[in-house]
């Protein structure tokens, strides 16, 4: 497969993966482009590999984690004037219209709050559907670390969802 053909066939899927990894479109495009630059320079080797997708995913994961290590905003201070000037009006936001929206909202918050490595584990497990061993090998950690990280993310979300039951949705 030529490089152009590969990108045409798999580019969209790989961008989707980059999007869930980074949580944003611009970052995803940049990540995919940077990873493709790496892959392009070694295309003759990658071409011969059994799973070029897996190789590209691994490059994206490594690049994403190294970028995030360099800069990650974790605290935010906002002046009262700024809050007043940029406050979102209540009418601007649509009210939840479907059951499950609140769940997804909480899940989104929890995913956004996860450290980059933990988010990557969650993405690889619940989006890429990789096994714990495969994820552990990719990230250079043990399988039990992957299991406990994913389990912690789920437990946090469960606790939040249990604290705020959605009307009409039966749960324990």
């Amino acid at each position: 497969v030529e490089f152009d053909e590969y990108v045409a066939a798999r580019g969209a899927a790989m961008l989707r993966f980059a999007r869930v990894l980074t949580g944003e479109q611009a970052g995803a495009e940049d990540l995919l482009q940077a990873a493709l630059v790496d892959v392009y320079t070694h295309w003759s080797k990658v071409q011969g590999a059994d799973r070029p997708d897996a190789y590209l995913r691994r490059v994206m994961v490594n690049r994403h984690l190294s970028w995030r290590r360099r800069r990650s905003s974790s605290e935010l201070v906002v002046s009262p004037e700024r809050i007043a000037s940029s406050a979102v009006q209540e009418g601007d936001v649509d009210v939840d219209v479907a059951v499950g929206v609140a769940d997804r909202d909480q899940a989104r918050r929890i995913l956004a709050a996860l450290p980059p490595r933990a988010r990557t584990m969650v993405v690889l497990r619940f989006y890429a559907d990789l096994g714990d061993v495969e994820i552990a090998e990719m990230l250079g950690v043990t399988a039990s670390t992957v299991r406990s990280t994913a389990s912690r993310a789920l437990s946090t979300l469960r606790a939040v969802l249990d604290a705020e039951p959605v009307p009409g949705v039966p749960h324990d």
Partner: protein, 371 residues
């Protein structure tokens, strides 16, 4: 068994993935970056040689005594013909050489008019680019496509929007046949997070009324007074984020400064940072960047680009508020981390996130600023 929490996570990830839009010309971009990387590697070797030769020459010149250094100003080549109506960054690029506009051009039927000029600027190109790039608070960056930078005689014929109340009364800048540094860029790569239920919007759909807008359609044109008055205006073409049409408009431009700070304790014992804010600035946001070995906190202030004194200062304290404090979540205790981030103009607009960010711009040839 898939429970409610796992289902929610899977759905969120799938929703996020569905929002991804493959940018046009991805392969071409990749090839260009590979070519640039190879060129940089070759240039690096060449530069080493040039620096070595230059250092030897400088040493020889120093032995011979001081010499007046003349700035090299490339000659202005003006192309004849009427003003060109430009709608894409690529079209503007074709009209620029040696950081100067070579042919008259108009944006949006004359909302912005730009003409070639041989006048000399007080503000240097480097200073203008750095002011433009500083339009994001410290610790945050927006990725943009490489802008085009040039000197021109500029007229903005649409009214400039008044500044927000937070900045107080200001003298509205005017650009009427004024020498200015112009920066033109597009919105490719911008993604709007739309309220649930409304359509999402990306670069491809941003230009309403232009069904066949070029992929690098001009989104913004910033004019920075080349007289070093500190005045600047940014003109935005029409867009349609989240299916809501935003007509073209001109605003006073802003830039961000990272301020020096000291840590202290607020009246209730909570951690605060104390900063000295210049009179011409308004305190903005702060961010803490953590790595495994260190942490740096940066506090930003925004400066409105108008003619106003900036000599005075005022003291302010800002409480630290950790993000992610939402419904049902306990409020974590804020921890003030040691370490000072870089101060001065931020590098908020970057064209590449790799390596912490760098900005590539075109003024007749490509240049790159590193964070």
């Amino acid at each position: 068994m898939t429970d409610r929490a796992e289902l929610a996570i899977r759905q969120v990830l799938l929703q996020d993935a569905d929002a991804a839009v493959l940018p046009p010309g991805l392969v071409a971009h990749v090839r260009r970056r590979v070519r640039r990387r190879r060129r940089t590697q070759v240039t690096g070797v060449a530069l080493t040689l040039v620096v070595a030769v230059g250092a030897a020459a400088a040493l020889a010149a120093a032995r011979q005594g001081p010499q007046a250094v003349q700035p090299v100003v490339p000659p202005l080549v003006v192309q004849p013909g009427p003003a060109v109506s430009v709608v894409s960054v690529g079209q503007v690029k074709a009209l620029v050489g040696g950081a100067r506009l070579e042919r008259a051009a108009v944006v949006d039927d004359g909302a912005v008019r730009m003409a070639p000029t041989a006048q000399q600027p007080v503000l240097t190109e480097d200073e203008a680019v750095r002011l433009w790039a500083a339009a994001s608070p410290a610790g945050s960056q927006q990725i943009v496509t490489p802008p085009v930078v040039f000197l021109a005689d500029v007229t903005v014929s649409v009214p400039v929007q008044p500044a927000g109340a937070v900045f107080g009364p200001v003298h509205q800048p005017r650009f009427d046949h004024r020498l200015a540094w112009v920066v033109v860029w597009d919105r490719t790569g911008l993604f709007y997070y739309c309220p649930y239920g409304s359509a999402s919007s990306t670069a491809a759909s941003a230009h309403t009324g232009q069904a066949q807008a070029p992929p690098d359609a001009i989104s913004q044109v910033q004019m920075i007074g080349a007289d070093a008055s500190g005045e600047a205006v940014v003109y935005s073409t029409a867009s349609a984020p989240c299916s809501r049409v935003v007509p073209a408009h001109a605003d006073i431009a802003l830039y961000d400064l990272s301020l020096p700070w000291t840590s202290s304790t607020g009246v209730d014992g909570s951690p605060v940072v104390s900063v000295v804010v210049p009179d011409c600035a308004v305190l903005g946001a702060s961010s803490t960047v953590r790595s495994r070995v260190a942490a740096q906190t940066q506090v930003s202030a925004e400066v409105l680009m108008v003619r106003r004194p900036c000599a005075g200062t005022s003291h302010s304290t800002v409480p630290l508020t950790p993000p992610g404090v939402g419904r049902g979540q306990p409020t974590p205790t804020a921890t003030l981390l040691p370490g000072h981030g870089p101060t001065g103009l931020t590098l908020g607009r970057v064209t590449s996130q790799s390596g912490g960010g760098s900005l590539t711009y075109f003024d007749g040839s490509d240049h790159t600023l590193f964070a």
